[in-house]
């Protein structure tokens, strides 16, 4: 029973992804755009979930790290570089700045990181707005090209959607690898008991920095994918509000759970559509939901999923580890 449950759990993200892969291709333009946006959010949320959910390092700079990716793609694109180079540069910039921002922040106690990253997001916004020759200032950059491989062009919305899907798959697979490696275990150990983790040889500095920088690198990738979606970017898309939105997304989905970002990303793109009738009230309802969620369901909506799974198979309610336990037969 546990085995079936565990494999069901591991297959869920795959199942959701393949569904996502097929269904939106039949959508009309606007819905396809919403689905594409969901992929961007998914990539962003996976990064933040790694940083916050697994390693317990709060980041309010994910909007800024996203900007690195978007601007890398836009600026390199203007100069004729291939799109993938921009994605790579975005990820690298995210990683490097993640290290730089994370380093001083680690010296201060726990949640001060929230404020350091918050400040960083504001600085990046100001720089984007004022560094006009490079970033186009408040007007931003328009005419951002979509990728093309020789004769194959990802110009159409459907083709670009498939292209994004491939990147999302890479992100999901690499995140799965990291989280099931010994790094993932060290991240969770730090989140759960920092003092004991350190006393067992876990270098808090190294792992916290890595968790932070990797999350930021994923944000860079997400930003790179986002830029050609509308073909136009400006600093207003990378504000502190955006970072807070990502934070909420991860929390609503379920912190420290692999399924969390999937649920969060879908929720954040679908909810506004559902609540569209209420217009401006959307944010009020959203904020209220966040508070209620923290009060009554601090583990996020993934709890609902667990509940469903528990009905399907009468397995013990213990939350299974990500990694399947090694084969006991190999003992010897």
């Amino acid at each position: 029973m546990t085995g079936a449950r565990r494999s069901a759990r591991r297959l869920l993200p795959l199942g959701v992804l393949s569904l996502l892969a097929l269904v939106p291709l039949t959508f009309e333009q606007y819905k396809l755009y919403v689905a594409s946006l969901t992929l961007v959010y998914l990539v962003m949320a996976i990064g933040l979930n790694l940083t916050l959910g697994y390693a317990g390092q709060i980041s309010l700079a994910h909007g800024a790290f996203m900007a690195f990716g978007s601007y890398a793609v836009a600026i390199l694109g203007q100069r004729g570089a291939p799109f993938e180079l921009g994605v790579g540069l975005g990820a690298a910039l995210g990683f490097a700045w993640g290290l730089l921002v994370g380093f001083p922040a680690l010296k201060v106690k726990h949640h001060f990181l929230a404020m350091v990253t918050l400040g960083f997001n504001i600085i990046v916004f100001l720089v984007l707005r004022n560094w006009e020759w490079l970033t186009g200032g408040s007007f931003g950059i328009s005419g951002i090209a979509r990728p093309a491989w020789g004769a194959i062009s990802f110009q159409s919305d459907r083709a670009y959607y498939l292209y994004m899907l491939a990147w999302a798959a890479i992100v999901v697979a690499s995140a799965y690898w990291i989280l099931t490696s010994r790094w993932g275990r060290a991240f969770r150990a730090i989140r759960e008991n920092e003092m004991r983790a350190e006393a067992l040889g876990v270098s808090l500095r190294n792992y916290k920095l890595m968790a932070f920088a990797i999350g930021a690198a994923y944000a860079g990738v997400g930003g790179a994918l986002f830029a050609p979606l509308l073909g136009y970017i400006d600093p207003g898309a990378y504000t502190l509000d955006r970072s807070i939105q990502f934070l909420m997304m991860v929390v609503m989905g379920g912190l420290g759970r692999f399924e969390g970002p999937f649920i969060g990303a879908i929720l954040v793109t679908v909810l506004p559509e559902v609540l569209r009738a209420s217009e401006g009230l959307y944010l009020v309802i959203y904020a209220l939901a966040v508070m209620l969620m923290m009060l009554f369901m601090p583990r996020g909506l993934v709890g609902v999923w667990d509940w469903v799974l528990a009905r399907l198979g009468p397995a013990p309610a213990a939350r299974a580890p990500l990694a399947p336990p090694p084969d006991a037969a190999r003992l010897g």
Partner: protein, 292 residues
Amino acid sequence: MTDLFQLLVAGISIGSIYAMTAIGFVLLWQTSNTINFAQGEFVVLPAFAMVLFWMVFRLPFAAALLATVLLSTFLLGFLVRRFLVARLLQTGVLPLVIATIGLSLFIRYSLQQFWTPLALPFPPLFSRVPMRLGTLLLSWEELMNVLFAGAAIGALHLFISRTKLGWAMQAVAQNRTLATVLGIDVGRLVTITFVLNAALTAMAAILIAPVYLVKYDIGIGLGLKAFYAAIIGGFNQIRGALLGGLLVGIVETLAAAYVSGQFRDAAALVILIAVLLWKPEGLWGVKEEWAS
């Protein structure tokens, strides 16, 4: 020279309002480990309340002031503590942080939706006709801001250093476990701190309203500056928040005058980063060490 002096007074004036907000923020952290991301909105809501009582209901100024402080302490002090914080204190710092972010969005966008997305004018409380001292021009508004903020902070200081409740608050801030063992009712102290914070932010609201006008989103900037002030000064010290607030006010005023208006908001950030790199516990903070 006279320019510089006038700018300093202006900086201290706005800085003293930041300081009030920052001190409340630090108090919450000390007694309840709450990082209140809604601190900016804790200023905005009373500002709207003041508009309601004074300009819409046309109550006399003193009555409107009293009503505002009462409403603020009830809503933002008592209710928030009772329904949000009490439960979340048991689940750890992170859910509480996120809940306060939710609270800030809730207050901000409720005001926008249910009242107005526009800036409401707020009449000056003190004469804006400048006072002439030799070659110096000083505004009454700035001087009175400093005076009122100084009085509020002074009263708070007396409360904390001279009363039994204040001593208990200090004890909780220093060592929660020990304070509990000594028979201090930590829960009640947390409530008192929330009420005190709400009173502080209500007073800050009344002072800042004529300066900034009353708009649903001014809390974002105010909250940030309170954060900066608290971190710059040192999170575990009330005098740290006071000095941090003044520093932020002075530096941003000078930066706006001598560099550029655009640089105003970035100035505080520059100090913040310098402090974090060079003295992460804050300029007047105390290093903490794990007790065994």
